[in-house]
Amino acid sequence: MIRVRGLVKRFGGDIVLDGIDLDVPEGALVALIGPSGCGKSTLLRCLNGLETPDSGEIEIDGERLGPGNAARLRGRVGMVFQSFNLFPHRSVLSNLTLAPRVVRHRSREQAEADARLALARVGLSGFESRAPATLSGGQQQRAAIARALAMAPRAMLYDEPTSALDPERVGEVLAVMRDLDAGGMTQVVVTHEMRFVREAADTVVVLDHGRVVESGPAAEVLAAPRDARTRNFLGSMQA
């Protein structure tokens, strides 16, 4: 589904991604972990074209990502941010319908019908006409997920989707991701929620200094990390 080979990204002189290889099979839930500043966000942003790599290649659904098709492929890869980034001047419903209408030229009726389905999927039926500022953090993040889903993406990318939430609100967002996983959605999640990683992720990829230092089935990597840097990182997470 997503295939990355030899991905390199520099900011100024700093190498932030230093030759990343990554395979995300269809329907998988891949957790991306690693210490702060190791390049997790940058990798996600490259995957949906928000950043342009300096070299290497990215294939989405068999199509090679390049300047010509970045905008179109973005519609196929949903992105969810730590700070939700809902459009505060639009109702929840019109947050969801904007991109389908403007980018895909859907009719209002079609876009709204799709949007209601997406809201139902994240448990927000009945919140259509609310302003984003009137929702709780967890509701906002679920609305943001629904907004990405409304574009009918083939994969979803999450950059620390629960880090800005009150602890009691984290579960409802993770539940949505579990539910999507059960429905066969391909997902890549940057997260520090180790319990979620252990329970829900198929694969864990550990990044450090812009390189993949270890990857494998979640249970194995978390239980018996082979790389010293992974052990360090996991140790720091427990502390």
């Binding site: 905008a71 519609g75 992105m79 941010f81 980034n85 459009f87 980018v103 907004r147 990405a148």
Partner: protein, 502 residues
């Protein structure tokens, strides 16, 4: 926005189109003068300030009638009369304009319609009753008049002589009354109307210098000039001119027209006598209301249209500055710096009087709206910029992540949010614009501040009209003050500040 632009374009094509479209058989004769404290030339009737009267008004209307044209008065500052004529804002100018070699360098004149002299006025208690007797005194006059030049020549020969220059004749006579001056030298009709009614002042000495008033025209308008000369000659021959002058008590000493009383002079004496008592004062103020309403309407019209231009032009300026490639961004920056670095008054004068030299002729309303609009556009652009910067980066990213192009992201996500943050600031700017709009009075628009000048100089009363005009400005601004508060509250609610209270 689009509808606003269309309305503005219409406005720019303005009066010309409107006039062309009118099914009026008679073309207009646009004549200009300065009606502020302009007795007996052209001024607002003290008993009904919305009515323009004066012996020149009667002459102009009679000339227009004989030319089969409809007279239309254009108010302009005295100093701006000749520039406005050259800029093509009106056909002729009349305001006691003296036929002098200096003036004739700039404009053409009809034959004289009135001949008079410079008249010295002193305090009645002062025995010095001639210019020669005041050789060590202090004498005032209006700036740029023949009297001004006479006094300068006199001062060159008398080292102890002191000249004081004024913009309003009323102020000169007031200073004479209060002892700040020893004499005032001005055209005899002015002396008669402003000093002659004051028992404390006396018109003294022989006529100082003869002067002739002519109707000023553009030098190229020779056909019009010939027709006006014919009309004036006919008015002289059939006695019309003498009758007008007789009504205004302006005939030379010893002359009279049988059966014509100096009614307008008597009207002036009666109406400018100081009113006493509250009732009389309130009654007078009530008469100001229609003029103040008209001034307020003009202020509101210029301000609203000017703000519309500012709001519409400011946004592309801000977007160019922030997002466009270097040369366009630099152009936008240059425009903003130019506008913010030069006085608004200069910009207004430049657009109204300067642009016609480049072939761009604007009617006063369009010129005022464009000048105010472009000036405020520069400030609004800065507001928009602050508003755009206040939208979190994540918003444009979220739009991009959904597949919106950068332009779509601006249009649907970033700009609408920026607009909301700038709305309160803009509303406050509108209130400043409302006040700055007083500057368009220099280009013949009779708005509130101009109305104030007209009323106060007609009645020598700055207090009552001042309070009324101040009230009018406040009332005009009030709805926008409330709008600003409302916008601020809504903005606060939206960004969650208010909802946090629940």
């Amino acid at each position: 926005m689009r509808r606003l632009l269309a309305a503005l374009l219409l406005l720019a094509s303005g009066l010309q189109a409107a006039r062309a479209g009118e099914p009026v058989a008679q073309p207009t004769l646009r004549w200009a003068g300065d009606a502020r404290s302009g007795a007996p030339y052209e001024f607002h009737d003290p008993s009904d300030p919305s009515r323009l009267i004066g012996y020149e008004v009667e002459i102009a209307e009679e000339v227009a009638r004989r030319l089969h044209r409809r007279p239309e008065f254009v108010q302009n500052e005295f100093d701006g009369l000749i520039p406005g004529l050259q800029a093509g804002q009106y056909d002729i100018a009349m305001d006691g304009l003296e036929i002098t070699p200096e003036h004739e360098g700039a404009v053409a004149f009809s034959t004289p319609y009135y001949t008079t002299w410079e008249q010295l006025v002193v305090r009645r208690s002062d025995p010095r009753d001639s210019l020669a007797a005041l050789a060590h005194g202090r004498v005032g006059t209006l700036r740029g008049t023949t009297a001004n030049r006479i006094l300068e020549a006199f001062a060159a020969e008398h080292p102890g002589f002191d000249i004081r220059l004024y913009d309003e004749e009323f102020d000169a006579y007031t200073d004479l009354r209060h002892g700040r001056l020893d004499g005032v030298l001005l055209d005899a009709p002015i002396a008669r109307y402003y000093a002659g009614v004051d028992p404390a002042l006396a018109l003294v000495g022989p006529p100082v210098a003869p002067i002739s008033y002519g109707i000023a025209l553009r030098k190229t308008d020779t056909a019009l000039r010939n027709r006006i000369d014919e009309a004036l000659a006919a008015m002289r021959d059939d006695g019309t001119l003498a009758r007008i002058l007789a009504r205004w008590n302006l005939l030379p000493e010893g002359q009279s027209v049988p059966g014509v009383a100096p009614v307008m002079w008597q009207h002036w004496v009666a109406t400018t006598a100081p009113v006493s008592g509250w009732r009389a004062r309130l009654h007078r103020y009530a008469q100001f209301l229609p003029m103040i309403l008209r001034g307020a309407w003009m202020t509101l019209l210029v301000s609203v249209l000017g703000m519309a231009v500012a709001v519409v032009v400011g946004l592309p300026l801000a977007l160019l500055r922030r997002y466009a490639v270097a040369p366009f961004a630099a152009l936008a920056t240059a425009f903003i710096e130019l506008v913010r670095g030069t006085p608004l008054l200069v910009q207004i004068l430049f657009i109204f009087y300067g642009l016609p030299e480049l072939g761009i002729q604007l009617n006063p309303l369009a010129a005022g709206v464009i000048a105010l609009g472009l000036n405020y556009a520069a400030y609004e652009a800065e507001n928009y910029r602050a508003g755009l910067e206040a939208v979190p980066r994540g918003q444009a990213e979220a739009a991009a992540a959904l597949g919106l192009s950068p332009m779509q992201g601006l249009r649907y996500v970033v700009v609408p949010q920026a607009l909301r943050t700038v709305l309160p600031v803009m509303t406050n700017d509108f209130i400043s614009l409302l006040k700055d709009s007083s500057l368009v009075s220099v280009i013949t628009l009779t708005e509130l501040s101009q109305t104030y000048e007209q009323l106060s100089t007609t009645y020598f009363d700055y207090l009552g009209p001042g309070a009324m005009v101040a009230a009018a400005y406040l009332l005009l601004g009030l709805p926008f003050v409330r709008l600003a508060r409302f916008a601020e509250r809504r903005l606060a609610r939206q960004s969650g500040i208010v909802s946090a209270r629940h």
